[in-house]
């Protein structure tokens, strides 16, 4: 009997928003003291593990996030799918003091919940438990950081489950192959362009030694951050973190390099025939440089202007405003470690419709590039952003994810409590400037999708 992972998938939108927040505070000057919507303290252990603490006594619970700076961008050719597989192995393998599959049971026994996610550039594990069980979570997370023992059986099972899922998705998930093909166009290099799930052949060929090597390289304290948020005594938390984590040996530094961003000079257009496509469609992408650029906050607001909320410009034009159907239209600001892309996906009834929609998008962008949005329009999108932001920081778990994600995105964490203030100062002129800089046809990539 094949077993499937029990971990629930986080909602796509929530994950995207957390990602946003994680890179939205980049051009803020360093501040002497973090004063704002929430408190935080941070420090580094001698082994390089970054620690972030944020106390919020609203409810007697505590959330712990342990995030590793590793994802599919770190995989080598022929070893794709390893980052995703490793995330699952972290649960099914035992560690020196925690038997296989027992991590979940420890959490459930105390009424807690857990989840994990692997993306192109991060692998994140998180638990929320009653505040009285903070020590338990730190013990569990430190044990698997220090001494995961992936066995041949657990590895074979995880690989089989992953292959099952991959095959099922390729068969049943509409447009999956199109999205993968689109990534090949958007990103020219192997690291960014190959799918997180990996290729079937690669996954089939992965070995336990590959997993052990990947773990030894990337699942080390100097490649990770731990964030604790919720109701806890910071002194006690520091004591526990020192006890459980500081004794874990530092690993080798796994430096990552990135090439400087250069905007494209010519539009790239390709056509792809997809057996799982349910309708004619297209993907449109704009390369937006690095998440560390000063432009990122404005790009976040532009995402709201284009596709967030029911009054966003492109969503309103591309869908029937009166219908609340799950619309086959979406836009997303995507970050893959050092690269940012705006991706739009639209389905249509006919190929001609698809062409019309594409023209409509460029026409709306042209309007936005030449006409300033009025104050109330900008205010509307800022209000939506503010609501999403406050939802995140009001929840211990989401706040911990936000803080840990921000750290891995190399953002000065102490500036985060003031991030919202800074965002609210963006003007319509800023928006026009950034739209003109990046949202140009010659800086775009188009994949026309035809059902096979």
């Amino acid at each position: 009997m094949h077993r499937r992972t029990l971990m629930a998938k986080s909602s796509r939108r929530k994950a995207q928003f957390l990602l946003f927040l994680a890179v939205a505070a980049l051009n803020t000057p360093a501040l002497a003291a973090a004063e704002g919507l929430f408190s935080l303290t941070q420090y580094k252990l001698r082994n390089g593990l970054q620690v972030i603490l944020s106390v919020d006594p609203a409810l007697p619970l505590v959330s712990v996030v342990v995030a590793y700076n590793v994802g599919s961008v770190d995989e080598s050719p022929g070893k794709t799918g390893l980052a995703f597989l490793m995330k699952n192995l972290m649960f099914s393998s035992g560690s020196e003091n925690v038997p296989p599959n027992q991590h979940i049971n420890y959490i459930h026994r105390v009424g807690g919940r857990f989840n994990a996610s692997a993306s192109e550039d991060k692998t994140v594990f998180y638990e929320t438990v009653p505040a009285t069980h903070l020590g338990l979570v730190l013990w569990l997370e430190s044990d698997r950081m220090k001494s995961l023992i992936p066995t041949e059986t657990a590895f074979a099972q995880a690989r089989m489950d992953h292959l099952d899922d991959l095959r099922g998705r390729r068969k049943d998930e509409p447009f999956l192959e199109s999205f993968w093909s689109f990534d090949q166009l958007v990103y020219s290099d192997f690291a960014h362009s190959h799918p997180l799930a990996g290729s079937e052949d690669d996954v089939q060929a992965l070995t336990l030694e590959d997993a052990k090597g990947f773990y030894a390289t990337y699942y080390v304290p100097n490649n990770a951050v731990i964030c604790v948020a919720g109701s806890f005594d910071p002194l006690k938390a520091k004591e526990w973190i020192a006890r459980y984590f500081e004794t874990i040996p530092r690993g080798k530094d796994s430096g990552t390099s990135s090439e400087p961003f250069a905007p494209a000079k010519k539009q790239v257009v390709r056509t792809f025939e997809d057996a799982t496509a349910t309708a004619p469609a297209f993907c449109l992408g704009f390369s937006l440089g690095s998440p560390l650029s000063d432009d990122f906050s404005v790009l976040s607001l532009i995402d709201y202007i284009l596709f967030r909320g029911r009054t966003s410009v492109l969503l309103r034009r591309l869908t029937n405003q009166r219908s609340s159907l799950m619309t086959p239209v979406r836009g997303v600001l995507e970050i893959r470690r050092d690269r940012v892309t705006y991706k739009i996906f639209v389905t249509a009834n006919t190929v001609q419709n698809a062409e019309q929609y594409k023209d409509l998008i460029f026409a709306e962008l042209a309007k936005l590039k030449t006409t300033l949005l009025n104050e109330s329009e900008v205010g509307r999108f800022k209000a939506l952003y503010k609501m999403d932001y406050l939802r995140v920081v009001a929840s211990a778990e989401d706040r911990a994810l936000y803080l840990a994600g921000s750290y891995l995105n190399r953002i000065p964490v102490e500036t985060l409590p003031l991030e919202l203030d800074r965002f609210l100062k963006i003007t319509a002129i800023d928006v026009v400037g950034i739209l003109n800089r990046y949202f140009r046809a010659e800086n775009s990539v188009v994949l026309n999708i035809k059902p096979k």
Binding site: M1, H2, R3, R4, L6, L37, L59, P60, L61, E96, N97, N101, I104, N105, Y106, H108, R109, V110, G111, G112, T128, V129, P130, A131, T132, H133, G135, L136, W139, K146, G168, S231, W240, R243, Y244, T247, G309, R310, T311, N320, Q321, R322, S323, S324, L325, M326, S376, G379, R380, F381, A383, K386, M387, D388, L390, R391, A394, S395, A396, E397
Partner: protein, 502 residues
């Protein structure tokens, strides 16, 4: 002396465990938990307006978000027999247009407050949830007032909602979990007003603006709603704004629909829901129980946890961890005004469907016949106590839970006294509840590919009915050939009969 010290050190070095092992001794076991932090939720303060509307306020000081939950004390059970789904339709149409403004203008107003407006309908209630930035409270309440007092149900909006409902159901019907769960409700609610809560896709076309307006006029009345405000507002300030916006909403006698307790299934029976091409299948076994006293509800929560609440529970440990039959195996409890439903869910492959049914049956029977050891009861209680604040952690979950407490007049027992209620559960009360709930006949639904299942189910002695994924009766698979007389049975045929009367 010096020689002695050196000898002592050397001796210690050779006889003691290595230094690293000493250092890591603390890793062998998890640290002890700290004493339980008792906490009290902010109280739900209640004010009754002159138009008989009950307003509940949960004042969360300094919280940056606010929520207003408008709960109509009428769900699918009050939809007309010939118009199942009308209450759902009313919820989804709420706020889509008011007399001076189009739906598009309302969306702009909502977005400018960072607002979201959603509706959900249960057999008993319709809940409109409006969440927005705290700074927008007065504006939000004023907009809500206009939505309530001046609804404009346009044909265009109605058609859009109906289309979305139709496509939504069409999508859901392909889902094994939904198909099995919906069929279970059709069976369990067959002769009860709750049957309308699983309205068929064909029924959507019957929804009309005229019927909607009539329904709205009857049930959307201040004396038939509860309004819950959660956020940074004290009772007096919040009530003043609400009075301004909704004080003129006239009360009116609301028709009462008799609601008998949910009937118990007359006998155990089995249905297959055919989902062609499905690789796996989903088993759902469920039964009903009558309204329970508060203490029994907590005992049932403990019982459910032991049966199938988490991955540590008996079903999961047996079907997945021990036998490796199931991808997952859980149980859950839904509480309604007329009683409740306890259901077991398991996803398995067709080749082990009979074995899985047998194990599920064994677990239910064991709990019904054998008292649960105290230690297992305490572990379940510990889970429920730990889970309580976590279940309220998100802003939306907190608001929804408070609204539910207010709407059901559940009072402090399910809010500030939750811990006390869980702690009070005893092994005896769990056993008594198990004997009451688990000894009633269960209805078994298996959703999967009929072709794959038929071979496996041939080993059964009993007959079973086969339905399509919309709940339409197909045929009876019976060894005893007694099925012909039952062919018209089922909610689908009942729906056809009732709608024909229109």
């Amino acid at each position: 002396m010096r020689k002695f010290l050196i000898a002592l050190i050397l001796s210690a070095a050779f006889t003691s465990p290595p230094l690293q092992a000493q250092q890591d001794r603390f890793r062998k076991t998890p640290p002890n938990a700290e004493p339980l932090q008792l906490f009290r939720l902010p109280p739900i303060e209640i004010a009754l307006l002159a138009n008989e509307m009950a307003v509940g306020i949960v004042n969360r000081e300094n919280h940056p978000l606010m929520s207003v939950e408008l709960v109509v004390l009428g769900g699918e059970s009050v939809s007309p027999e010939t118009l199942p789904g009308l209450a759902t339709f009313a919820g989804r149409m709420f706020g889509r247009g008011i007399q001076q403004f189009s739906a598009a203008s309302i969306y702009e107003a909502l977005d400018s407050m960072g607002g979201t407006l959603t509706a959900s309908t249960t057999p008993d209630l319709t809940r409109i949830s409006f969440r927005f930035l705290e700074t927008e409270f007065d504006r939000a309440v004023a907009l809500l007032g206009q939505m309530v007092l001046q609804p404009a149900f346009s044909e265009a909006d109605a058609n859009a909602v109906k289309l979305a409902a139709t496509y939504g159901l069409q999508d859901l019907e392909k889902n094994l979990d939904y198909a099995a769960e919906a069929q279970l409700r059709r069976q369990l609610f067959e002769n009860h007003p709750y049957w309308k809560s699983v309205f068929p896709r064909d029924g959507v076309r019957l929804w009309s603006v005229k019927d909607l307006a009539g329904f709205y006029d009857r049930y959307f009345r201040p004396n038939n709603v509860r309004l819950l405000v959660s956020g940074n507002r004290p009772l007096r300030t919040a009530t003043r704004s609400i009075l301004r916006a909704l004080g003129t909403w006239p009360s009116k006698d609301v028709p009462t629909v008799p609601l008998a307790a949910l009937p118990k299934p007359d006998k155990a029976r089995m249905c297959v829901v055919d989902i062609p091409g499905a690789k796996d299948c989903v088993i759902v076994e469920g039964t009903t129980f009558p309204p329970l006293a508060t203490a029994d509800r907590f005992a049932l929560a403990v019982l459910n946890h032991i049966l199938g609440g988490t991955t540590n529970s008996r079903l999961f440990m047996n079907l997945r961890e021990s036998k490796a039959y199931a991808y997952n195996a859980f149980s859950d409890v839904d509480i309604y005004k007329a009683g409740g439903v306890l259901a077991v869910h398991a996803q398995v492959t067709p080749d082990v469907v009979l074995e899985s049914l047998r194990e599920i049956g064994k677990e239910i029977e064991t709990l019904a016949k054998t008292p649960v050891p105290s230690v297992e009861i305490e572990l379940a209680k510990s889970y429920l106590i730990g889970r309580f604040p976590i279940s309220l952690a998100s802003f939306d979950a907190f608001s929804a839970a408070a609204a539910e407490v207010l709407a059901n007049d559940a009072g402090d027992e399910f809010w500030s006294r939750y811990y006390d209620q869980v702690i009070a559960v005893s092994p005896e009360s769990v056993f008594t509840t198990a004997q009451a709930v688990l000894t009633t006949p269960f209805v078994t639904i298996i959703a999967g590919d009929k072709a794959a299942l038929t071979k496996r189910l041939a080993g059964l002695d009993e007959a079973y009915d086969v339905f399509d994924n919309q709940g339409r009766f197909q045929y009876r698979a019976a060894k005893d050939k007694k099925g012909a007389e039952d062919e018209t049975r089922g909610v689908r045929s009942e729906f056809q009969r009732r709608t024909k009367q229109r």
